[in-house]
Amino acid sequence: MNQTHPTPEELVEYLHGELPASHDAWIHSHLAGCSSCAEAFEAEASLTELLRAHARSEDRDFPPQVAAAIREAIERPRRPPVWESLRTALRPVVALPAAAAIVVALYLGINSWHHTPAAMSINAAYYVNNHAALTASAPFAEDAPIPAMLTSDDTAADQQTVAR
């Protein structure tokens, strides 16, 4: 290391224990043998202690509801950012089965779309004819004046009683 004295910023970081171990050790040994740097360090340490003392003297509790809200925010499970969720979803172990499921769903969806008719249209005559058929057992029932089977091209053969 070509550096002869630590910079003031390095002394601050040393004071707060934020330096890598090797750098921290070098400054520690340097302060032991360099009085000017030791004085600068002591000044920084004093200033830090002064600020902490001042902060303690001015210490005020948060209003209870603010503290509760902060605690709740801390304890609430963190929602991952969108990009993080996306990255997780795209991991191969998740993405491959998901892709397969999408392919299958698309296949089935398209298939059923092709095979499921839109809302079926039922002619009102079906209901009227079925009603007339069941009322044949009513007293004095009679056939309709105009028999449906003689007036329509449709023989309505596409209806059947459900087997029981």
């Binding site: 079906y126 209901y127 069941l134 044949a136 057992s137 004046p145 089977m149 003689l150 023989t155 009683t161």
Partner: protein, 339 residues
Amino acid sequence: MRGSLIAVLALFAGNLTLAGASPVPDTDALLFAAISAPVRISYAGIVEVVRIGNHTSEASVYRIEHRAPDLTRRNYSAPSALSGDAVISKGDVSFSVDARRHRIVETRNAALDDRIALDDNYALLRQNYRIASRGDEVFDGRRTVGLMLINKYNRHPTMLVRIDRATKIVLDKQEFAPDGSLVGEVRFEEVSYTQAIPPTEFALPKQYQLVQGPTFGEPPQNPDVVVRNAGFAARAPKTLPEGFAPVEGNLVELKGIRTVHVLYSDGIRTVSLFENATASKLDMSGLQPEWTTVGARQAQYAEDGAMALLGWSDGALHYALVGELDLTELRQIAASIAP
């Protein structure tokens, strides 16, 4: 028990026939004898039928030949579109002989043989209608007894039947709306009674193609059984016109859509409720549908002659009500069908 009731009443009816010009018999027995008379009596004549609706009406004229118990042929002479056509019935099978299309459409309706339903309907009729005799009359040259059926709840005359005193065949039947207007009439003319109608009269023409028409399957079931077997949570109305009760039903597939059909009756008037769980659209083409509401939902209403039809959906189920009721009654029934 019902069978024996029918037998007793039929025997009583037979005695009445033998009695000839005796005093007007018990109206209840006479009415029941009239219902069952075609099983015993063969006849021929001209029949005029008219059904009167608010928007459209239908009428037809045909010659009828009936050989007891269950062979009937109707040869149509009017309207002109039916001229030359015929309907031949043998028990629960009907053959519609279509001269224009050179085809015969075969349909089967098990309800025609449903004695239990007939008895249930008759019990409802007696429960809900009072019989008022109009005494002896002469109709088409024959002595008849006129019976008016009066609704016990609204006290409106609903049906008038003129019954041949000798044979108990109904020679004239008139139906009335609650406001007294005529809704429909079936009347005989030139009626004659004979056992000499040869079976060949009921033969099918051989040169026509036989086509399978709709089949109404096995005998109708108890409505509760039908609803249980629906395959979906079918719903029943909580409100019906006074005197109405569920009498029978069946499960039918209309274009592959499983549909519950329950018939409600008061003995004379009837209404059917159809419901299914498959998205379906009610096609009222050929009618004059108009929009109305069932509760907060839109509904379609149309009349087909004297028949009214109301269709709507609640999102989960799709419904149609069909019957000779007015729009107000249909909407009241529909609104009471709630999840």
